[in-house]
C-alpha cells in the first residue's frame, strides 16, 4: 500500500474520520483508522462500533492495499506538517512510514482484517435529498434530543419516513421538536427509525448546506448516508419511539402571534433573572399583549411587555425559558404563533406561515 498526497487534501477526510474515533475503545484496533487504497482512491475509515465513517479522496502514485494506523497520531502529524507539503505514505513490513520533505515518521499498525466494518446494511428503503435539506432537518430538531435519559430511545433522533415526507422528531420528554421535508419519490411503507445521539451529532458535523444530493439508506439495524466523498453509517436504537403525534396539541386554540425576534430578545433578557436551575419564566397573555416575567431566589425580578396579535385574555403559563428560546431559534419565519390551551397544557410553537416545523413545550409549574 502506498500513496502520495497533498497535505490539505489529506487533512479533510482525516478530520472527518478522526471525530468518530473514541478516546477509549472497546477494541484496540478502534483507536486506529483503516486506510485502503484502490486505484487512485484512498479511503479512511473510523469506527466506534456504533458509528462508522468512511471518507475518501484522490491520491497519486498509488499502490493498492489496506492497513490500520493510530488515528490520533496520524491526524496530529498531518496537521502539524507544513502547509502545502506533499505527503508520502507507505507500508514497510508492519510499519507505516509517513514522509514529507525532511520529516519522517514511522507508525505502528494493525492488520486491516482486524478492523470491524459494516459492509452490508440490508437496505429496505432509500431516499435522496439535497444535502442542505438533510442538514436543515437535523439542525432544527437535534437540539431537543435527550441526553443520557433512562428512556434510551429518547437519546436519539426519530426519522419518520412516510408517504412523500421525511420527518425528523426529537424530544427529551419535556419538549419536542419536529421538522419535515418533502420527498420527490414516495416510499413503499411508513418506516420509523431512531438514530443514536452520537450518530446525529456526527452527521450534523459532516453535512454542509450544499445543493448536491445525499442518499439515505434505511436498513434493518443501520442507517447509511452517502455523499460523493463519504459514507456514514450508524447503528439504530432498538426501541420504540413514543407516539409523538399524540402529544402535539390539537385543542390548543388560544392563539398568540408576534414577531419571532422580539419574543426571543425579550425572553433572553428575562432569562437573566430566572432561577438558574429551572429557568422558569411566566408568560401572561391578555388581548393585544404578552407579558414575560422572571424572578430568582434572590427575589430579583424581570418583566417584559410585548405587543401581540391575540384576543386571548387572562392566560398565565410558566415555561423553562431555554425550551422556548431553543424552539424560536429553530424556526425561520418573521412571525411565530403560540398555540395554548391553559396553564397546565402543552404549548405549540410554529411559524405563522407554515407548519413544516413544530415545537411542543410542556409548561413549568411555578
Amino acid at each position: 500500500m502506498r500513496f502520495s498526497i497533498q497535505r490539505e487534501v489529506l487533512l479533510k477526510p482525516l478530520t472527518q474520520v478522526v471525530g468518530v474515533v473514541e478516546r477509549k475503545q472497546a477494541l484496540p484496533v478502534l483507536a486506529n483508522i483503516l486506510i485502503s487504497v484502490q486505484g487512485d482512491r484512498v479511503g479512511f475509515t473510523g469506527s466506534d462500533l456504533e458509528v462508522e465513517l468512511s471518507a475518501n479522496c484522490i491520491a497519486e502514485k498509488t499502490e493498492d492495499g489496506e492497513i490500520t494506523v493510530p488515528a490520533r497520531k496520524l491526524f496530529d502529524i498531518v496537521r502539524a506538517l507544513q502547509d502545502g507539503s506533499v505527503i508520502d505514505v507507505s507500508v514497510n513490513a508492519e510499519r507505516v512510514t509517513i514522509k514529507a520533505g525532511k520529516s519522517r515518521f514511522t507508525l505502528s499498525s494493525l492488520p486491516a482484517n482486524e478492523f470491524p466494518t459494516v459492509d452490508d446494511i440490508d437496505v429496505i428503503e432509500r431516499v435522496s435529498l439535497s444535502e442542505a435539506s438533510v442538514k436543515e432537518l437535523l439542525d432544527r430538531t437535534a437540539f431537543a434530543m435527550a441526553h443520557q435519559d433512562v428512556r434510551y430511545y429518547l437519546n436519539g433522533l426519530l426519522l419518520d419516513l412516510r408517504d412523500g415526507i421525511l420527518r425528523c422528531v426529537a424530544t427529551d420528554g419535556h419538549r419536542l421538536a419536529l421538522c419535515e421535508a418533502e420527498l420527490e419519490l414516495s416510499v413503499k411503507t411508513r418506516r420509523q427509525l431512531i438514530i443514536p445521539r452520537k450518530g446525529v451529532l456526527e452527521l450534523q458535523r459532516l453535512l454542509d448546506v450544499g445543493e448536491g444530493l445525499v442518499d439515505l439508506e434505511f436498513g434493518k439495524n443501520h442507517i447509511r448516508a452517502r455523499r460523493s466523498d463519504f459514507v456514514f453509517t450508524s447503528k439504530l436504537i432498538d426501541g420504540r419511539f413514543p407516539d409523538y403525534e399524540a402529544v402535539i396539541p390539537i385543542g390548543a386554540d388560544k392563539l398568540v402571534e408576534l414577531p419571532r425576534d422580539e419574543l426571543r430578545a425579550a425572553l433572553s433578557r428575562a432569562a437573566i433573572l430566572s432561577n438558574e436551575k429551572y429557568r422558569g419564566v411566566k408568560v401572561e397573555v391578555s388581548p393585544g399583549r404578552l407579558n414575560i416575567s422572571a424572578h430568582n431566589p434572590e427575589q430579583e425580578e424581570a418583566s417584559e411587555e410585548l405587543e401581540a396579535k391575540t384576543i386571548v385574555d387572562n392566560l398565565s403559563i410558566g415555561f423553562n425559558v431555554n425550551y422556548l428560546m431553543d424552539a424560536l431559534a429553530a424556526l425561520r419565519g418573521v412571525n411565530v404563533m403560540l398555540c395554548l390551551r391553559d396553564g397546565n397544557s402543552s404549548c405549540l410553537v410554529r411559524d405563522v406561515e407554515n407548519q413544516r416545523a413544530r415545537h411542543v413545550v410542556m409548561p413549568l409549574r411555578l
Binding site: T171, P249, S346, L364, R365
Partner: protein, 364 residues
C-alpha cells in the same frame, strides 16, 4: 439577638442514653453495671449505666480500662440503629412544644421555647412535660436545664442529673455562675484553664469582674466571649437541624470487581438510599451520585442532575447505572467499593415542576 426580652432555652439530656436503652430493652441488664462498647483491644466506651459509673467507668475511656475498673460489668455492643430510632421519638416529643430544635447528638438537644406551641405558662412547665412524656412513653429518663441561653441551659441540665431539672431565672444567673470554676465554661480546656489560673482567675466570678481588655489581650476574640460567658451572656441562637442535604449508601465488595459485575449491588444501594429518602417526604433529592473506589484506592464520583428529580428507587438505580458510562478508566479496572448517593436536596414546595410530555401528568 435582643437581650431585652429574655429567651427561654431548654437543654434536654437523656440519662446514660445508650446504656439506658439497653437496660430498658433487656430486663436482665436492669440494676447491673452496663457498658456499651465494641469488643476489641482499641475500642472505647460509648456509654455506661449509672451502676457502672459508680466504679469510675466513663464514656470515651478505653474499654479495657473499664473492664479493669468494673470486672462485673456487662459489655453490650452498641446498636445505633435502635438508638437513632429512640432519638427520633424524643424529637417527636420535643416537636409537640417547639420547632426550634437543635440536636447536639442522639441524646441531647437545645429547644427554644420562648414561644411554645401548647401555650404553657412557663419554660419550666414545658421541660416538665417533656421529661414526663419521655418517662411515660419511652420508659427512659432525661434531665433538663432551663435558662435564658444555650450555655446556661447546658450547665443547668447537668445540675440535677440524673432524672432531674434545674431552672435558672435571669436574676439568678450572676449568683449561680460566680462560684463555678472557670473550667465549666464552654471552650475552657486544660490549657486555657491553666492560663486563666496563671492570670489569677479561678472562678467564673473572678472572670466577670475582670476588665474586658485584660481578657482580650490574653485571648484575643475568645477573651470577649469568655468575658460574656462569665456574665451569663450568650447570644447564640438555637439552630434548627440542617435538613437533609445528602443521603448515600456504599458497599465494599468481598473481592474486587469489574465495572460490569456489580449492577445488582448498585441497584440494592439505590433502594437503600431511596427508602431513607422516603422518610423525609418533604425533601427532594435532585442529584444522583455514583461513587467508586478502584482496587488501588482511587476514588471517583460521577453525578447527574436530571431535570426531573428521581421519583422511585428504580429510577434512582437506573440513573446510577447510567453514570457508569461516564467512568473513563480502562475496562480491566477493578473496583473495591461502590456507593450510590442522592444529593442537592430541596424542599418539595421549592421545586418547580417541569411538565412531562409522555407522563401521566401530560395533557394537551
Amino acid at each position: 439577638m435582643s437581650q431585652d426580652v429574655p429567651r427561654k432555652i431548654v437543654h434536654v439530656d437523656m440519662d446514660a442514653f445508650y446504656a439506658s436503652v439497653e437496660q430498658r430493652d433487656d430486663p436482665s441488664l436492669r440494676g447491673k453495671p452496663v457498658v456499651v462498647a465494641w469488643r476489641g483491644a482499641r475500642s472505647v466506651v460509648c456509654a455506661a449505666s449509672y451502676e457502672a459509673r459508680r466504679y469510675g467507668v466513663k464514656s470515651a475511656m478505653p474499654a479495657i480500662r473499664a473492664e479493669r475498673l468494673c470486672p462485673d460489668a456487662v459489655f453490650v455492643p452498641p446498636d445505633f440503629l435502635r438508638y437513632r430510632a429512640v432519638s427520633r421519638q424524643t424529637r417527636e416529643i420535643f416537636s409537640r412544644h417547639t420547632d426550634l430544635i437543635e440536636p447536639l447528638s442522639l441524646d441531647e438537644a437545645y429547644l427554644d421555647v420562648s414561644v411554645n406551641k401548647l401555650s404553657l405558662p412557663t419554660a419550666t412547665a414545658v421541660a416538665e412535660q417533656i421529661r414526663a412524656a419521655i418517662r411515660d412513653e419511652l420508659n427512659l429518663t432525661a434531665s433538663a436545664g432551663v435558662a435564658p441561653n444555650k450555655f446556661l441551659a447546658k450547665i443547668a441540665s447537668d445540675w440535677r442529673k440524673p432524672d432531674g431539672q434545674f431552672v435558672l431565672r435571669p436574676h439568678q444567673v450572676q449568683a449561680f455562675l460566680q462560684p463555678l470554676p472557670v473550667a465549666r465554661l464552654p471552650g475552657v480546656g486544660k490549657v486555657t484553664e491553666a492560663k486563666l489560673q496563671g492570670l489569677g482567675f479561678s472562678t467564673v466570678g473572678d472572670l466577670a469582674e475582670s476588665p474586658l481588655e485584660v481578657l482580650r489581650e490574653a485571648f484575643g476574640s475568645y477573651g470577649q466571649r469568655l468575658w460574656e460567658l462569665a456574665r451569663g451572656i450568650d447570644d447564640h441562637p438555637v439552630v434548627v437541624e440542617r435538613p437533609t442535604q445528602q443521603i448515600s449508601a456504599e458497599d465494599t465488595f468481598a473481592k474486587d470487581l469489574l465495572l460490569d459485575e456489580f449492577d445488582d449491588t448498585l441497584l440494592a444501594l439505590a433502594e437503600k438510599v431511596w427508602s431513607q429518602a422516603e422518610r423525609e417526604p418533604d425533601r427532594v433529592g435532585r442529584t444522583v451520585i455514583l461513587k467508586l473506589k478502584t482496587q488501588d484506592f482511587r476514588l471517583l464520583t460521577r453525578s447527574l442532575t436530571p431535570l426531573e428529580p428521581p421519583s422511585s428507587a428504580e429510577v434512582l438505580g437506573a440513573l446510577a447505572l447510567s453514570l457508569k458510562s461516564r467512568v473513563d478508566l480502562p475496562e480491566r479496572t477493578r473496583y473495591r467499593l461502590a456507593g450510590v448517593g442522592l444529593g442537592h436536596f430541596v424542599d418539595r414546595h421549592e421545586l418547580e415542576v417541569q411538565g412531562e410530555l409522555f407522563g401521566l401528568s401530560s395533557s394537551r
